[in-house]
């Protein structure tokens, strides 16, 4: 037998290397799986690049890669996460998210039905956020060279007029708010991945923050800085701000909002919720005069019901202190790259 003549590919229920090789299988994958879930006028021509209309003002862009394991977890999956994570990076930068591009790296052998479900979830999340996927690329790598599916998304947005956010605007006396309970995403993924059986109530908070953040701007509040506390949790955000501003930040431990399930999981696993990842929360630095209104504004939104004021910015030196239950402040450590599983 010679290998000169092409062998017909049997109909497969799994992704094959041939799905990434540019032939008929690849066209079918793009048409039946990707376009079926993501269809829009910009993507439909399937050209090498998408042509977008002119933007009305400064363009904001961001890129994120998603490697979460497991691919499906309570409260979300890698598809919806890849939309929310990137949309949220735009939203907290003061931008209105407009478009996404998508890169998929698929491991040979992934069930086609799994890929279809994840792309559908991604498409539904993108539609809910009003951000069409306008361009994309798919690669298939040999079994063992990836873990099921890796997703990369790039977001394009337009800066909201008059918005000026950044560490340069933070002053001593500013208040620190969080929009809800801490650590739910990291704990849900950890529990699902390790089979810890910590209960069904433990769900990822993966959600788009566009509406919540817009409500702060629409209320005309003097918001100084916003950040979504993903990897490294709220602790990573606080350290970043302290370092960039040279100011101190004092956090009141008793004020941290925690879900009952999240608190229990942290107790059992010995984790500090300040260090655990979130995917649908925002940390807000706001002027003292605007703090009460900002908190009320967050709490009016369904994603901000559990919002809380957790601390205050003080003079330098740079650092983060946490006031414990007995009133004694302690230094808040920086996230040290603990051997936690892939969470985003």
């Amino acid at each position: 037998m010679t290998l000169d003549c092409p062998l017909p590919h049997p109909a497969s229920d799994r992704v094959l290397l041939a799905h990434g090789e540019g032939g008929r299988l690849m066209r079918r994958l793009i048409r039946d799986v990707l376009l079926a879930a993501l269809d829009n006028a910009h993507l439909r021509p399937l050209g090498d690049a998408a042509l977008l209309p002119p933007f009305d003002g400064p363009v904001v862009t961001t890129t994120d890669c998603y490697v979460v394991s497991p691919l499906f977890f309570p409260g979300g999956d890698i598809g919806s996460l890849a939309v929310h994570g990137t949309v949220n990076d735009l939203a907290v930068s003061g931008a209105e998210p407009l478009y996404l591009t998508l890169g998929l790296i698929v491991e040979e052998g992934l069930p086609l039905e799994t890929l279809r479900a994840l792309v559908r979830s991604l498409g539904a999340a993108a539609e809910a956020c009003g951000v069409p996927v306008v361009a994309g690329d798919t690669k298939v790598v040999p079994r063992g060279a990836a873990d099921g599916l890796f997703v990369c998304t790039t977001g394009l947005g337009q800066l909201r007029p008059g918005v000026d956010l950044g560490c340069h605007r933070i002053r001593p006396g500013d208040r620190v708010l969080v929009s809800g309970t801490l650590g739910d995403h990291g704990l849900a993924v950890l529990s699902a991945r390790e089979g810890l059986g910590l209960g069904d109530e433990l769900r990822s908070d993966s959600a788009p923050l566009t509406g919540l953040v817009a409500s702060l701007f629409d209320a005309g509040l003097d918001v100084r800085f916003l950040r979504d506390p993903t990897r490294g949790g709220v602790a990573a955000v606080l350290h970043e701000v302290a370092e960039a501003t040279g100011l101190s930040i004092a956090i009141d431990e008793a004020a941290l909002p925690l879900s009952e399930a999240g608190r229990g999981a942290c107790e059992i696993l010995g984790l500090d919720p300040l260090f655990v990842a979130n995917e649908g929360k925002v940390v807000v630095f706001v002027s003292p005069a605007g703090a009460d209104a900002a908190l009320a504004c967050l709490r009016r939104h369904p994603l901000g019901r559990d919002a809380a004021r957790i601390g205050t910015v003080g003079e330098g030196p740079a650092g983060v202190l946490v006031r414990g239950p007995l009133g004694v402040p302690r230094v808040l450590d920086e996230p040290a790259g603990a051997p936690l599983p892939r969470i985003c």
């Binding site: 202190l321 239950p325 007995l326 004694v328 302690r330 040290a336 051997p339």
Partner: protein, 363 residues
């Protein structure tokens, strides 16, 4: 949250602090044995709220910290072998051996896994019959029942590819060694509540009697620790030396019999070297001859281990309560969590890690 909130209650804590302040008339030195207790004390700032003369010193109760370097190097050598799946609690991954640590062994291609239970390692051995699955059994009396169960389960399943690197140590011999050491300053102990939940506290009665020291079996929340300190101070002031049980919600005098039985079935008591304390007689557990087939030390002959202790690291003195972590010249300079000289800087129960985490800004 029930069973947690009442032991962190600021009003209860304040009342206990007042009681301690009222009862102390002269300087005392009290050792909390367990690293988990050390972390609560520093995290809540209890040490800063006590009367000036009442000094807390931190004990050897961090099993990762007292594991001798020679055994860590042996573990690293086994973990690096092709064909071996090496399982450990996450605590051990960043603990430095003479030349490397488990994270670097993994980065270099070793199959190193973090597990939450030794039974997960048994499950891995079942799932991958062509791999040699080794579990690094580090811990005090608290974790020994679970590792004993894992061995018993592996034996029942006839798993020829599961073995255990036993590094279990026992607390009472270490407390006796501290009391007998020439520089000892410890006048009372807060014993480790979780250990006593398994073993009970019968063993401590003789120790308290022989050395005339009060021993209070104590829990891990701020109110537990304050109550333990209050009881210890009351005994010291009254010249008594009894064993008291502050942690009665978890600890019975005779402990957990079922747990003790499985440990006794699988392990026997042996002499064991402790980092910083030397060889302590009858202070460790090794597999009984009936379970020798599951002994990783016998299965993997590791030749010619050359251990090299850091000359700068004074972990031994820290573990004996002779040196406070922030009194060490290397603390925060040559020794940090990113570049640790010794295990106490990176173990979650290590005293140096507690000072780094909660105190370094206050120096």
């Amino acid at each position: 949250m029930k069973h947690v909130d009442e032991y962190r209650d600021p009003h209860l804590a304040r009342a206990l602090l007042d009681r301690i302040h009222r009862s102390v008339t002269r300087p005392w030195t009290v050792m909390e044995v367990c690293g988990g207790q050390t972390h609560t004390l520093l995290r809540a700032g209890i040490d800063q709220l006590l009367p000036a003369g009442l000094r807390l010193v931190h004990g050897p109760g961090c099993p990762v910290c007292v594991t001798p370097l020679e055994l860590i190097d042996r573990a690293l050598a086994i973990a690096a072998r092709p064909g071996v799946t090496f399982c450990s609690f996450g605590d051990m991954l960043r603990v430095p051996g003479s030349a490397t640590d488990l994270l670097h062994v993994r980065a270099a291609g070793g199959d190193v896994r973090t597990v939450y239970s030794p039974l997960d390692a048994v499950a891995l051995a079942r799932e991958y019959p062509d791999r040699e699955v080794v579990f690094f059994a580090v811990g005090f009396e608290t974790t020994a029942p679970a590792t004993a169960l894992a061995v018993r389960q592996a034996a029942a399943l006839g798993l020829g590819n599961f073995s255990l690197l036993a590094a279990h140590v026992l607390v009472p011999p270490a407390m006796a060694a501290i009391l007998a050491s020439p520089g000892n300053r410890v006048q009372a102990f807060l014993a480790a509540g979780h250990v006593c939940a398994v073993t009970g506290y019968e063993d401590y009665v003789a120790l308290a009697e022989r050395h005339r020291v009060p021993i209070v079996v104590t829990g891990f929340e701020p109110v537990d620790l304050l109550e333990g300190i209050a009881l210890a101070v009351a005994q010291l002031e009254a010249g008594r030396h009894a064993v008291e049980n502050q942690y009665a919600r978890a600890v019975r005098r005779d402990g957990n019999r079922a747990a003790q039985d499985v440990v006794a079935e699988v392990y026997e008591v042996c002499d064991r070297p402790w980092r910083g304390l030397g060889i302590l007689p009858r202070s460790g557990l090794r597999l009984r001859p009936t379970y020798a087939a599951f002994d990783a030390e016998k299965r993997f002959a590791v030749e010619a281990i050359l251990t090299a202790e850091s000359a700068e690291c004074r972990a031994g003195e820290v573990l004996l309560g002779l040196l406070r972590p922030d009194e060490c010249a290397a603390f925060g300079t040559a020794c940090t969590p990113e570049h640790p000289l010794g295990a106490p800087m990176v173990s979650s129960e290590g005293a140096c890690a507690a000072y780094w985490r909660y105190r370094r800004g206050g120096r």
